[in-house]
């Protein structure tokens, strides 16, 4: 792995000795449990002891809740404890999916759920397609023979590391009524726009901001894919008199397709779960114009005086099913994803 040796080496030299002693001390202390255990269990059964801590946390906080979630979805009321919750079978799901006209959320019993579903659909469609196109262009630009490639690569990557709350506040400050963007609009002779009070504008900015924040990640993956295409192919094409556009269509695109699918599915899975940036930037508003599915779940279960845990769980089971389909899609796409996760 390529590293920046001086920074890392300096850190190592500075802390190395102390860290090593602390490490040995901590590990020897844990050894006071593990070594007698080995005498007791024998070498072969030590494996169970090694997986135990992870498995316990995993079982209690991921696996068990996954199963319990389905039970919650079949009960109702404001009580948190399952034994106090009346069992209603599929009533929550029926309520969630009852609409006289599926095109119009106002006709649905749980209209906020459908609004959130529709918003999430719009968000996912435009965010994912915008993300793939912009990341593709950026990675192709970065793949050219340019000066200071490492610098430019990190320019696009930097926002990926910022916390969603920070990203949202940066843009809230720019987009507010008296913000710098409106000052620019006024400067070129246009009328200022109150972006956060207009549903279409708010959704547009929510999409643009989330592309801004995450495109660097997908650009990196696509760049790695582009760099794995052998240069000989382009050389051979050049000998045959292939034009740049032809080379792109017949060499780059087909060979990049597995990586593109990974990017597509990963960004899809992330977009479906989007919450933080949007919640801090717009609070779901104006009205419920930018309320996405996870925010609906959060608001229904936690952001209210009368929590409806059953409804929140039913909605999250629905969301989980969508994610499961997307994940299976990724597994089906096989090779590309394996190469990336290995």
């Amino acid at each position: 792995m390529a590293t920046t040796p001086n920074a890392v080496q300096r850190l190592n030299a500075l802390a190395g000795d102390g860290v090593q002693r602390l490490y040995a001390l901590a590990m020897n202390a844990l050894g006071l449990i593990m070594e007698p255990a080995q005498k007791l269990l024998g070498v072969r059964r030590m494996a169970y002891l090694f997986v135990l801590p992870n498995l316990l946390v995993f079982g209690i906080f991921i696996l068990f809740p996954m199963l319990l979630n389905v039970y919650y979805a079949m009960t109702e009321g404001g009580n948190l404890y399952p034994q106090d919750r009346p069992f209603v079978a599929t009533a929550n799901f029926e309520r969630l999916y009852t609409c006289t006209d599926y095109g119009d959320p106002n006709t649905c019993l749980e209209d906020r759920f459908w609004r959130a579903a529709r918003n999430t659909g719009v968000f996912v469609f435009f965010q994912v397609s915008g993300m793939v196109i912009i990341s593709l262009i950026t990675s192709m630009v970065l793949n050219r023979k340019i000066v200071a490639r490492g610098f430019f690569r990190s320019v696009y990557f930097y926002p990926v590391l910022l916390s969603p709350v920070v990203v949202a506040l940066i843009w809230k400050w720019i987009l507010q009524r008296d913000g710098v963007l409106n000052a620019i609009l006024v400067g070129v002779g246009l009328d200022p726009i109150n972006f956060m009070l207009d549903g279409t504008w708010a959704m547009t900015w929510v999409i643009l901001v989330s592309i801004w924040a995450h495109m660097g990640f997908y650009t990196l993956i696509l760049l790695a894919g582009l760099q794995s295409i052998p240069a000989e192919l382009y050389d051979a094409g050049a000998i045959d008199g292939t034009s740049t556009t032809q080379a792109f269509r017949h060499i780059t695109l087909p060979l990049l397709m597995p990586t593109m699918m990974v990017v597509l599915v990963l960004s899809l899975i992330r977009a479906v779960q989007m919450f933080d940036e949007v919640f801090v930037l717009t609070g779901g508003g104006p009205g419920s114009a930018t309320m996405l599915m996870v925010q609906y779940i959060y608001m229904t279960g936690f952001g209210t005086q009368n929590p409806r845990f059953g409804m929140a769980a039913a909605a999250s089971v629905t969301l989980g099913a969508v994610l499961l389909v997307a994940t299976l899609l990724q597994l089906r796409l096989g090779q590309g994803s394996e190469r990336h996760l290995a």
Partner: protein, 356 residues
């Protein structure tokens, strides 16, 4: 400096042609890259510039590019420094006066060199004298007036604690899954893989119940533990540990080392690159985590930075000068880590496909 200049202006050698001429595609490429710098760094730069502005300066429209503050002067006979204005007198000359007080449309002003004599001026005849000044009080007051340092401490505890726990339990599990044959191994591995893509947002309600039962509502443990058994980490470390030859472990066993000693003295040091990648990810996940802490932590003394920042922007709606300063302080540690470990992070992500 000249080395930096040479670095920035160097052209990558084609290998075949040497220096090339600029083509239209080159112009487009660099145009795109420069626009990229503006769009990616511009908003952050604007945040940092704005965070150094005074409250009055922030409320101006159109905004000034640099932080400007009104200049003040100490005047004999007045306890506080007085704000300075350029005043256009009736005969057309402009003098610099300090304002004592404002009464309706009139301002009572005084010449700083002759403090005895008060001049009355119509307020539209004066313009404030402004100089470039960084309002560092935005930062110092964030610390002294709000719980900012508590949030910072909580965030550091959560990030460091969760990362250490994640590293140790994930690596132990990965060690067992890659170096032992035992009944149930494949089942455990499959279940872990199957939950790779299950986010906590899908199981909020039941995890909340578990946390309530354990008594970890409003406890940092409630934030640290649920995410500690990351499937991603187990998967990443297992794949890496598979490449460590079993002979090394066997030679340790022949020398009489216990299994635990083989784990921490042979396998972990060899898996250091994968551990480093996981550590970096874990730090980023935990530092930036928002939805789960928002649910578990309801009392402000337990807030992490992200939750605290969100609460601030809700409560201090008009006090952008504090919100902006605190936002800068929140992004500072990640920015420092990024500039030090930039290559580590980008190559780590490109080779694993794991997201920060």
């Amino acid at each position: 400096m000249s080395a930096v200049g040479r670095f920035l202006t160097r052209r990558q050698n084609d290998g075949r042609q040497g220096a090339r001429r600029w083509t239209a595609t080159d112009v487009l490429t660099y145009g795109y890259l420069i626009a990229g710098i503006l769009i990616m760094f511009g908003p952050v730069a604007w945040l940092v510039l704005s965070s150094f502005k005074t409250q009055a300066n922030l409320l101006e429209f159109p905004p000034t590019l640099l932080p400007l503050a009104q200049e003040t002067a100490e005047v004999d006979g007045y306890p506080d420094p007085l704000p300075l204005f350029d005043v256009a007198l009736e005969d057309g000359t402009v003098v610099r006066l300090a304002q004592v007080r404002r009464v309706g449309l009139q301002a009572q002003m005084v010449d700083p060199t002759e403090p005895g004599e008060i001049v009355r001026v119509a307020i539209d005849q004066r313009t404030p004298v402004r100089v470039f000044r960084l309002a560092t009080e935005n930062y110092t007051e964030s610390f002294s007036r709000f719980n900012f340092s508590t949030y910072l401490r909580n965030s550091v505890i959560v990030t460091v604690g969760a990362t250490l726990i994640t590293l140790i339990i994930n690596s132990m599990a990965a060690f067992a899954l890659s170096k032992y044959r035992f009944r149930g191994r494949n089942a455990i591995f499959l279940v872990i893989i199957a939950t790779l893509m299950i986010p906590i947002s899908v199981i909020l309600v039941p995890v909340y119940l578990v946390i309530t039962q354990v008594g970890w509502i409003n406890s940092l443990w409630g934030v640290i533990i649920p995410g500690a058994a990351t499937p991603t980490g187990v998967f990443l470390l297992r794949q890496y540990m598979l490449t460590i030859p079993d002979e090394l472990l066997d030679s340790g066993r022949i020398d009489g080392a216990s299994e635990w000693r083989i784990y921490w003295q042979i396998v972990l040091p060899l898996a250091a690159p994968a551990l480093a990648v996981l550590a970096i990810f874990s730090v980023m996940w935990r530092w930036n985590d928002f939805l789960w802490p928002l649910i578990v932590l309801t009392r402000s003394e337990f807030f992490t930075l992200q939750v605290g920042l969100n609460a601030f922007q809700g409560e201090l709606n008009v006090q952008w000068h504090y919100v902006l300063a605190m936002t800068v302080l929140t992004l500072l540690p990640i920015t420092v880590v990024f500039s030090l470990l930039q290559r580590f992070i980008t190559t780590g992500i490109a080779s694993t496909g794991v997201k920060g």
